[in-house]
């Protein structure tokens, strides 16, 4: 499968990554190689094999609806690049953007 530069740009945009033209070129090759590698799986006959939803053969893992203590606000905000002491701050969001 041949990846195009448009594919790389699209993936970069979805991941909010800014790539230089050199990087775009580089990743066309690198990502393409990865996809080609994974593509080998297509050789396996998957007729009559159900899609797997999870690798662990587990189902129905629940917790009871019991409150646990939350962390305090200062701690919650401590990793954020910007806060006003009450809220996380982010550059202005344009509604619907």
């Amino acid at each position: 499968m041949q990846l195009t530069i448009e594919d790389v740009r699209k993936v970069a945009k979805l991941a909010r990554l800014k790539l230089t033209p050199e990087e775009e070129e580089l990743f066309v090759d690198q990502l393409g190689n990865i996809l080609n590698y994974v593509e080998q799986l297509n050789e396996v006959d998957t007729e009559n094999v159900l899609p797997m939803a999870h690798t662990a053969e587990l189902t129905n893992v629940f917790r009871t609806d019991e409150p646990k203590t939350s962390i305090d606000r200062r701690e919650a905000l401590s990793n954020a690049p910007s806060t006003d002491g009450k809220y996380f701050l982010v550059p202005q969001i344009l509604e619907g953007a």
Binding site: K10, K13, L14, R16, A53, H54, T55, A56, L58, T59, N60, V61, F62, R63, T64, D65, E66, P67, K68, T69, S70, I71, D72, R73, A76, L77, N79, S82, D84, K86, Y87, F88, L89, V90, P91, Q92, I93, L94, E95, G96, A97
Partner: protein, 499 residues
């Protein structure tokens, strides 16, 4: 040109669990203390693991079953990936191709007056995002993010495009809210965002040549009141018509995509929102942090058997078993579960559905409205009102006297006096409201009133028939429970006898 409005609704309902869907933080509306109901899980810190809240899944099952949905025996959770500041993980845990329920319906009163089943495409369980607060000054200041809401269990209920007007959409939402509150799965408080709605609207047009056209689909977002939903849809119908006449753009034209619009409730207009580039590329994949859930047939049957009575079922029962009119049954049930239960208690004591409905729909609702209270805070309990109605039903007092007792008891309660069922009979005798069925006593009262009102009697004899009113008044003062019409007849009879 023939215009048909096509509407489908996406309803988001916050489930009323104690804790969030994947962590033990409180699930509580608390905008005044931002970022205090958070932990590493709902903040999306690396290395944390979500674990499904059993109660959230159980409430979802109840809701979907009540919506007549088919419950999947195997369901899983998927990551819906997009970047937005209120979504700390960079993905929302939601359900994509294997939702826990699909293909149900909700019955509403259609515009044509007939009951109509609005099909439900699916209901799935996901997590809510946090809340962004934008700077309104226009100076481009930073936006604030409160993650208290992040991780609130959220049920998304998607209807088929079966609704045909803004009014029908409002009907559907009202019935949905009523059902959800009857089920006790959500408080459905729209001001607090527990119930939110997006509307997908387009038009099917048939022109004079019989050609059928569909206009592009518009999704109107952030409709936070039922009135807004109705107004936004009505507005879109007119806007899309004009837009089509101007541009001729059709649903199936190349390059036509679903448009997202916002709703300005102050100006009553919808407005274009900048479309997301690479829209809808959410790259869903199964969340490896959460294991699938299986539901047995027995479990589904148990949930179905334990379902609380739905509003529609209750209305029908009130009509069939208690003899209520469709109108009265609607009025009572649409007020909510508490009032419906209050009414049933009144009937239990009084033994008469129709009379109880009269008192509840007229007197109780009027007084509740005047006082701005819910039925839970209403001073006249169901057993007291039931006793009053019983006295009316047993012909111990007239309906009018029943109303008098009701008002008087309410007044006593307002003056902080303790009122109870025994106070009903006390008051009836204090006020002499017993219906005078003893004709001897009534005749005596009439004769003495006639003797006391000789001038009124002369006036009556002279042809001024209205003079009889004074005599009736005299009699009623003595025998309050008497039937005014019977009194009048008796007075005329006695006057004529003595002529």
């Amino acid at each position: 040109m023939n215009v048909t409005t096509i509407v489908g609704l996406e309803v988001h309902v916050q489930l009323q669990t104690k804790t969030k869907i994947f962590c033990g933080c409180a699930n509580r509306f608390n905008p005044d203390a931002p970022n205090t109901q958070v932990c590493p899980v709902c903040l999306g810190h690396p290395g944390t693991l979500p674990v499904m809240n059993k109660e959230a899944f159980d409430l979802s099952l109840i809701t979907a079953t009540a919506l007549n949905c088919e419950i999947a025996e195997f369901t899983k959770w998927d990551r819906k990936q997009y970047f937005y500041p209120d979504l700390p993980k960079g993905y929302q845990i939601s359900q994509y191709d294997l939702p826990f329920s699909k293909e149900g319906w909700l019955e509403i009163d259609g515009d044509d007056g007939n009951r109509r089943k609005i099909r439900i495409n699916r209901a799935h369980l996901e997590e809510d995002a946090g809340k962004n607060i934008h700077d309104e000054t226009g100076r481009g200041k930073d936006s604030q993010v409160d993650l208290n809401r992040a991780g609130t269990p959220l049920l998304e209920i998607v209807s088929e495009p079966d609704l045909r007007s803004g009014a029908e959409a409002k009907q559907y939402l009202e019935e949905m809210r009523l059902l959800l509150t009857f089920l006790d799965v959500s408080d459905c408080n729209m001001q607090e965002g527990s119930l939110r709605c997006d509307a997908n609207v387009n038009l099917h047009l048939t022109d004079d040549a019989g050609q059928k056209i569909a206009t592009p689909i518009v999704e109107v977002k952030n409709l936070n009141s039922f009135r807004a939903v109705e107004a936004a849809i009505d507005f879109e119908v007119q806007r899309q018509l004009k837009e089509y006449e101007k541009s001729g753009r059709k649903l199936c034209d190349p390059g036509v995509e679903k448009e997202t619009r916002g709703w300005d409730a102050n100006r009553n207009v919808s407005f274009a929102q900048r479309g997301k580039e690479d829209a809808a590329d959410y790259r869903y994949f199964p969340d490896p942090d959460l294991v699938p859930v299986t539901v047995t047939k027995e479990r589904i049957a148990d949930v179905r058997a334990a379902l609380p009575e739905a509003p529609a079922t209750r209305r029908r029962r009130f009509e069939k078993e208690l003899g209520l009119s469709t109108y009265d049954a609607d009025v009572i049930v649409n007020q909510g579960r508490e009032l419906a239960s209050y009414f049933e208690e009144v009937v239990e004591v009084s033994g008469d559905g129709k009379q109880s409905a009269n008192f509840v729909t007229q007197d109780v609702l009027r007084e509740m409205k005047e006082r701005g209270v819910e039925i839970g805070e209403f001073p006249v309990s169901a057993s007291i009102l039931g006793t009053i109605v019983k006295r009316v039903v047993d012909n111990k007092i007239t309906t009018k006297s029943g109303r008098e007792v009701f008002s008087a008891l309410l007044e006593e309660a307002d003056n902080d006096q303790e009122i109870s069922t025994s106070r009903v009979d006390e008051m009836i005798s204090e006020r002499g409201l017993e219906v005078v069925s003893d004709t001897g006593a009534l005749e005596e009262a009439v004769r003495s009133a006639i003797a006391n009102c000789s001038s009124a009697v002369e006036d009556y004899r002279a042809g001024r028939k209205q003079a009889i009113g004074a005599i009736i008044g005299q009699v009623m003062k003595q025998a309050k429970g008497a039937d005014a019409k019977a009194v009048r007849e008796l007075i005329i009879q006695v006057i004529e006898e003595t002529a």
